[in-house]
Structure formats: C-alpha cells, structure tokens
C-alpha cells in the first residue's frame, strides 16, 4: 500500500493508505485527528474546513495522494500553535462572543474565518459584510450572528 507523507500540525506524518482516500478519512479514521467534522462529504457544509499551506480547503474533497511531503496541513487542533499565546485570536474571539451552541460546525467555522481574514489582508483590505455573506459554512444551530461578530473581533486582533 502506498505511503502518504505530509506535514500535519507542524509534524511530518506518514500513513499507509491508497491515494484516492480523501484526506478527511485519513485524518479522522486513521490518524484520530477528529477536529475537522463530517457534515456532507461533498464540499458543501464546510464542517471539515482546515488549512493547506495557510489557505482554507476541505479535506473531504482532497485525495490524500495529491498531497506533497512539504504540504502543511493545519486542522483546528494545530491552529493555536500558529500564533503566540495558547489560543489563536480567532478562537479567543469565539469564546468571548460565546458563539458555540452544539459546537459541531465551529472548528470549520473558525478555520474558515482565519483564512478569510488572511485572504482579505493579502488583497490589502478589511473584511466587508459581503465577505461574511459569502461564507458557506452551515451552522444548523443558527449561530451565524455571533459568528459574524466574532470574526470582526478576531480580525482586529489578528495583526
């Protein structure tokens, strides 16, 4: 069976599994990294959102064989380590705004939010309402209002 190597939350990992198995299952079922959640498996709900080389992507829609050994995959478990302090400012904002209800969607929401802030920064601008409108992550508990507030707070602290 082929060996798959990539960097997961700062550490290189190697797993023996076929190329076409989607990364979400490699993370959750084989490596026991369960922060990214399953909500659809077809890149719609965004509950599995994680980062590849700092950008948001969806492991349910990524073949593990398509990863290169140098690719850095960050899941919610590894997010805090990407910034000083014991929580990422976006996670802190989520706690401050008491966003979480059932919590199932929130790892994906936070990873999406961080990548969104970074993207608009790369575009040399601040977050707009239209950026928030474009977030596709489902929250079936309806925490959207607090998510928007938390992103604004988190963005201010992500300097």
């Amino acid at each position: 069976m082929p060996k798959q190597t990539f960097i997961l939350n700062g550490k290189p990992v190697t797993v023996s599994v076929n190329d076409d198995v989607r990364l979400l299952w490699v993370l959750r079922d084989l490596l026991g990294v369960t922060g990214p959640k399953y909500g659809c498996g077809i890149n719609v709900c965004k509950a599995c959102t994680s980062h590849i080389n700092g950008k948001a992507f969806n492991p349910c829609a990524t073949r593990v064989g398509d990863l290169k050994p140098k690719d850095r995959v960050t899941t919610i478990e590894g997010l805090a380590k990407t910034t000083p302090g014991d929580l990422h400012p976006m996670q802190q904002a989520w706690i401050d705004r008491d966003v979480v209800q059932c919590g199932y969607c929130q790892p994906g929401q936070i990873m999406q939010a961080v990548a969104l802030v970074k993207r608009v920064r790369r575009e040399g601008r601040d977050i707009r309402d239209s950026d928030l409108d474009s977030i596709r992550n489902i929250c079936r508990c309806g925490t959207y209002v607090r998510i928007r507030e938390a992103i604004e707070q988190g963005a201010r602290k992500m300097r």
Partner: protein, 787 residues
Amino acid sequence: MTQTSDGSSPSSDLHNDTDAASGGLGRRKFLGYVMAGSTLVVAADITAGRPARAAVPSDPQIPEAYDLEDLQTDSALPTSQLITVTITKEGRAKFALPRTEVGQGIITSTAMILAEELDLPFDKVDVTLAPARPELLLNQLTGGSNTTFSTYTPIRVAAAIARGRLIEAAAILFGTTADRLTTTGGVVSDALGNQATYGQLASAAASQVVEAVEVVLRPKEDFKVIGRPRNRTDARAAVTGQKDFTTDLQVPGAKPTMVCRAPEHGGTPKRLNNRAKILRMPGVTHVAQVPTGIAVRANTFGQCIDAIREMDVTWNNGPVHGWSDATVLNKLRKGELPLVVPDVPVLAQTINTNFAFAFRSSAALETYSAIADVRPDKATIWAGLKVPILAQQRVAEAIGMSQDKVKVNVITGGGSFGHKLFGDHAIEAARISKAMKVPVKLMWHRADEPRQGRLHPMATSRIRATVLNGQVLSFEQRHTSVTTDFSHGLGEMITSQADELDPLGIGGFGFAETIFTLTQELPYNFGLVTQLLNEPLEFEDKFSTGSMRNIYSPDTCVAAELTIDQIANKLGKDPVAFRLSMLKNERVKAALRKVAEEGSWGRKMTPGTAQGVAIHKEYKGCTAVLVEIDTRPQTVNRDLGKETVTGPRVTKVVIAVDAGLVINPRGLEAQMQGGAMDGIALTLTSSCHLKDGRFLEASWDNYFYTRQWNVPPKVEIHIVKSDSDTPGGAGEAAVGSTAAAVACAYARATKRLPTFFPINHGEISFKPKSFVPPVPQSPTNGLKLAR
C-alpha cells in the same frame, strides 16, 4: 450588526417578584436526603417543587393553565426518583444530568443553578450527562424545551442540603454553631477567621446512613449567579477541536460503518447481489443486511462510501411508492375537518385563509451516528439521545436481549431539533453490530438524512374568522397533518397522564391531538376560538416523521398570524394596534410593545420592502418578533454563484422574549438568535420535495437551511422582565413567531398573501443527486479550491 440584550447586564429586578407568583417556591420547605457514603452525597426527588395543579381552568383554551411542560413534568410524579449531587474531597460538586445536551446550553445553566445554591465557584461544578437510567422512566426525556423548568427546583434542593451539611460539619470543627458561619466560593468561615474548604469538609459531612432533611431555598433576591450572563462551559473544548461527538470517540474495534439505503423513502432491501465483490474492495471488513439497508464496515468512511456506490441491491418499494407532494397535499385537503359555521349575525364578514407547509428535514449538522458493541451476553451503545431509556428498550428489543444487558452512554449531540428524540441510529447500529459480530461506528451519509431520516410532516392549516363592528366573533383553525411520530415517549407520558388530563376536558383525543391541544394557545380575544388537529389515518406508518424545534406551533403560528393581519386589514387597523387591542395577556402585550418600539414599527419603507410582526405564546413564556424584509428584484436575484439560493432577505429581526425566570441571559439570547434563523428558513427556503416516493434533497445545497447570505444584518434580542418564579422553555420559543413575522412582512412587501411554505417550494433550484447509488462520491478538486 446590532446586538442588544436587556438581560446581559446584571439586573436584580429581573427576578424581584413575590412568592405569590407562579410556583410560589418562596420560603417553602423541601425534603431531600443525605445519602450514605464516604464523601458528602445529597439527593432530591426529581419531582420536587412542582406546584400543586391549579383547578380546572375556566378558559376554553387549555394551555394557559396546563401546557406541555406541565405534562412532561407531571408524568414524572409517580416514579419519584432521586438525582444526586456529590461533593468530592477535592471540593468539587459533581452532578450527572439526566438530560441530553445538544447545543441548548443546559449543562451551563445547570452548573449555574448548582453554583448559586452551593456558593461554590462556577468552575468547580462538574455537570455530566447521565447514562440511561431506566428507573427514571420518562424523567429522562429532553424535549419540549422542558429541561430547566423541570430540573430547576430538585437541583436546588439537593445543593441547599449539601451546603447545610457542610456548614454543620464546619460548626463542629470550629466549635461553634451553624448560624455563625457563612459560605463563599466553596469555603465555610466564621467571624474569628476560621476557614475550611468544602473539600476539607466533604468526608466529615458525609453520612453513614440515609437521612431525610428539610431545607429552605435561598431567596432569589440573593442570587449572584442565576440571571447573570455566563459563557458556555464547553466553549474552549469546542473551539480547539477537543469536544468529542459520537464519531470522534475511539472505541476499540468500532470501525467506520455506513448503510446503503433504498431510493424510495422507507424502502427496504431484498438482497445484495454482489456481496463477494464488495467484500474484496479496499478496506472493507464486513457486509450485512439489516432491515434498513445493506451495511458495510471498513477501515475508513470513504471506503464505506466507495463500497455503497458499487453495491448492486434489489430493493422493495417504500410505503409511499408513487406518491408525490401533490398526492399528499390532496389527501390532506380531503382529511380537513369541517369548519363549523358559527352562529353569527348575517352582517358579519368572513375571512377565509388556507395554507400548506411542505415536508422539512429535522437533520442536525452531525448526521445520525452511533457506536454499538454487541456481544453474545451484553451490548454497549454510545450515541446522542434525548430519550436514552427508550433507546435502551428498543435496542434490547431489536437484538433480543434483556434491557438490563444494554448499556447506553449518552454523548453530547451535534444538534438535535427533534430527530435525536428517536433512537433510530442506536437501534440500527446495534442491529449491524449483532449481524457482523464486531463493534461498529455507524454514521449516516448526509444524503441519507433528508431522504430516509426524520421529517417534519407536511400539513395544511385552514382558518375562518368572522368579524362585525370591529370585533372578531369567531376564529376557527383546522390543522391537518401527516402523522407525527410520537413513539419517542411523549405518547407514553400522555397515556400515564390520561386520568389527570380528563378533568381538563380533553380526554378522548389521540396522542397527537392531545399534544396539539396542549401546545396551541391563541392569546387573543377572538370570541369563539377553536383550534383542531386532524392526522388522517391513511398516513399512519407512511413517513418517518418527528418534531423539529417545535411540533405544530411554527406552522399554526404562521397561519394564525397571517390571518390576523388579514383581519386587521379588513377592519382598517394597524397590525400592531389591532393585536394590542385584542391580546388578553399582559406579558404578550409587553413583548409586542417592546418590539414595536425598538424596531420602529410603522417607519416608512421603500416599495418592495416591509415590516412584519407576530407573537407566540407557549412554554410558559412568550415572544414577539418584528422583522423587515427586502423583496426587491435586485435582492431576490442576487447572484452568489451556483447552488446558492438567495431570495428575499430579512434585513432586520427584533425579538422580545419573556421566558420566565432567566438562568443565563447569554444562553437565552443565543437560543433566540438560533430560533430566528430557523424561522427564516421555514418561511423562505427550507423544504423537502417528494416525487414518486422519493425525496429529492441530498445535500445542504439542496435543503436550504439559512446560510450567511440569508442572515439579517441586524438581529436584536430583548429579554423582557418577568414576574415568573420558574424558568420557562427557550429552545423553540422564537421559531414560530419569527417564521410568522417573516411571512407577514413578505405578504406586505409583495402585496400578495403566500399560501404555501416555504415560499420557494414551487421551484426546484438544484439537480437532484442520484438515487442508485444513493450517496454521492466525494469530489477531488479540494486543493484547486483552496483560498
């Protein structure tokens, strides 16, 4: 974005009502127990503190005196069961809540109640979920938003006893008397500077034997924790990915398992024709046929999906073979109970309305999941379950084992909205584990949920009102619904309550009618009011149904409030002024006035946009909602890319809620916000389409629950001061009133009365995913889409 909450700053007058208020817990004494143990363990009867039932109400509408929450709490009475609080030697309080957390925040609010009565820091209180406790019978049911209402007093009684015992132990230790001691932050102290922590006192306070003790509860003027905003206890775990849901648990040997399901709703498997081939597929370990489909177990869920897609299965038709939405609607229309022509003067005018509501999926974001390890002599289940006792019973039945051999662990659920009332997932997992003879971690595919999962039933609601001289003489509502499944236990509670209910005059109804009667309340002076439910028998066992963040109320509320707008219009009255003049309940009026004021009711709106308002009274509380909607073409037709349903946008929501005594205003505000998102979806976007016995939806891009682009830019929640002494329900309170306010606003903006909900049900704005195979393959372009 505006976010306000009158309750978010500590306000002592939030609870400054008198003992005479409902509940009247005042200085009453309660009985509890100190249990035998090596550390302090105290107990209270879970039914403690229920006020004696009021006499038969004279009002024709039952819920004012006796609603679903009373029913749920009363059905507990005969069982008299104990809940216990333990004070550990480390000075922590431990309590296993016989309820399920699915996102409503009950763990947090329960910890607040304990911290309050114990005088213990909030972070030293550990609340966990109790596994199935068969002896509690239906005292272990989380539904109808009843948790806080029914557990509030028993928990306080236990905590007060614990605090009393700790003080007594300290008195002996310090050589003083209990009345000279005070407690703060988990420490007992006297004026001389003697101090002992609860942890140090826990053993001394313990008892060798069970002792009955009487206590008086702390007066609420002294509350320091209850009523103050508090963040969720599990927030940190949730935002760091540490909060575990069922499929995150690592149970040895429980490998990923999925089920290949029939194309038709409720269809069953005849046989798998290529078993050998499936067993040879990468990662696959087992295949087994169960009543609901063909199960496959593999090393990863991805390999289960691959296997399901390769399966060649012969299927039996489902119970609604050949039916479509129109078939069901026709049958409902035929089953509508007649409106009784009221005896009104000939000059009276009549207003007739008739609304229909599509099927909706009650699925949460976490799909149905359960871990089962069934051995020859015992079985263990892990799942999110709102009625674990019933699941335990059904699992035992399904695998032919006695109930005491089945252990059911309750796991925090990723949302519920009614479908975790049922144990479908636990039962299915147990059957599969038994058939395969190995532990399994069952997960439903997203596509399975709307197609084979629990649905909110399709229904019609027909109303006739008569008016004369500015008065409403009669208001008749006939709600006709596809059968709602109440086999999760609510039905059994009602059976056990039949005798008590009879004096209230609703005997002779079936389960569904009883629940309908207990939950519907139209708090208006409308003369002769009748609200009746009919669930025609021909729908029995046809659809997999259940409640969905409320049972009938969202639909009946939409129908009633839209009709009330029609009446106001006919009488030439303003919708708010008309409601205020007709409402008979001061709490509802106060809430309505609040939203009218905060939401600037009556402000000038541009054509194509409008305000709408609605109220809802249920669960010992009420809500009023004001919304503004934008139905202009440039908004409705916003192009946000493929598979993105935009439609009219609600631009503002203002909610005033009176939920009785508020434990945690931040949690209540969150529940209101979430309920509002549900209400918006129910009226504008979310539904399931039945075509030839199959439900078309299979993805969140087919089933349009509210998404960020539908979220109102402005959402304000106002918590109205309440006289009530007891907490009311919150989880569902804003759904119906928001749905209704959005419908009313839509009608005013478009000058057209919508009659089918959601309003976009007529067009199918997606390409249905394949039925054979029943699950879509995961895409592979994830890296290209990274951004």
